[in-house]
């Protein structure tokens, strides 16, 4: 039986595990060990002082921003390592890591617990994450080069509130030389972070639903990943309970593998008929009680 309490533990342990090098925090620098070359399957800024791995979105922007410079130096690097990593994660589990491992997802869920009126997200805003992915994460790093021939990580620079929270604020507090260089861009990034923090109070996971380029990439794999959600058409009564409880407002009974699904598995638990389950690879689908439904909606 998958419980949301169990998921919360996974999220908490993952947040600590991805940022476990505490000595770097105390020194006011960032961890520089060899594990920094490994991408993590979540949005976790590699400039967080204690981060053990590399953010795939930051790494992707850096790789794309270096393509033209590398070609001019006869180095044939096109970001295939990062793209391949994202493909591996996506084809295995889709957005499962968003729901179970992402520290910024955990933060959004905790802030959303603050008592207040709760709202959904207008449908058109869901498409903005693809705009952030294509424009800020892919095109601008490729097309706008600085004096040294490299592209900037534009999503990190202009938007990423996870970077501001995990790296900008700690380094500004801990490192006087960095603190002395902060200016208008830091103020802008703090405003973006503040806006998202307020938004999180009223809307569940607004960043994941409207902005996150990593979620946009992994979500494209949801329909074809080895891990996928299933609905038993024979027992589903279309009662809509799953959609009511879904943190990202998906009609689970219609599109169980929607690109927006973060695979938190809450729908499995709340379905009164046990019609919703999940499967991995080619195994028989399982519902929340561990039983196998008869029919599977693709």
């Amino acid at each position: 039986m998958v419980t949301q309490k169990k998921r919360r533990w996974f999220q908490a342990v993952a947040a600590v595990a991805f940022n476990a090098h505490i000595p770097s925090f105390l020194k006011g620098g960032i961890y520089q060990g060899p594990s920094k070359g490994l991408c993590v399957p979540v949005l976790n800024c590699y400039s967080c002082p204690s981060a053990l791995g590399a953010c795939p979105i930051g790494s992707l922007q850096n790789a794309l921003g270096s393509v033209r410079l590398n070609l001019s130096l006869a180095r044939y690097q096109f970001g295939l390592y990062v793209l391949g990593f994202l493909g591996v994660v996506g084809s295995l589990t889709g957005r499962l890591s968003c729901g179970w491992l992402c520290p910024f997802g955990l933060l959004q869920e905790l802030v959303h617990k603050i008592p207040s009126p709760k709202f959904g997200v207008p449908k058109f805003l869901k498409y903005f994450k693809y705009v952030f992915l294509v424009v800020l994460t892919i095109l601008l790093p490729l097309l706008i080069l600085d004096a040294f021939g490299g592209g900037d990580p534009w999503f990190c620079k202009l938007v990423c509130p996870a970077g501001t929270l995990e790296a900008g604020i700690p380094l500004a507090v801990l490192n006087p030389s960095i603190r002395g260089q902060l200016g208008a861009l830091f103020a802008w990034k703090m405003a973006v972070l503040g806006g998202f923090l307020v938004w999180m109070v009223f809307v569940m996971r607004p960043f994941c639903r409207t902005t996150c380029p990593l979620g946009a990439i992994l979500g494209l794999f949801n329909k074809v990943s080895l891990f996928r959600m299933t609905v038993d058409e024979e027992t589903c009564t279309l009662c809509g309970k799953c959609q009511q409880e879904c943190p990202v407002g998906i009609s689970v009974y219609e599109t169980p593998n929607s690109p927006d699904c973060i695979r938190c598995l809450k729908c499995e638990k709340v379905c009164p008929f046990g019609s919703i389950g999940h499967e991995f690879l080619c195994g028989r689908p399982r519902d929340a009680a561990g039983q196998a439904p008869n029919e599977v909606r693709p």
């Binding site: 920094k36 070359g37 790789a63 044939y76 501001t164 790296a167 690879l281």
Partner: protein
């Protein structure tokens, strides 16, 4: 095998990652991730 597409995608992704590793991209990612990203923290 009932569902081949995800396995094909997985194989392609592993191939891409392998090609990236062979061309030295692990070291490039490592170098970038070892350096404080000024843009990420709001300097630039």
């Amino acid at each position: 095998m009932k569902r081949r597409l995800p396995l094909v995608l997985l194989a392609v992704a592993l191939l891409l990652a392998g090609l990236g590793l062979a061309s030295g991209e692990f070291r490039s990612v490592l170098e970038k991730a070892r350096t404080v990203c000024l843009e990420c923290i709001g300097i630039g």
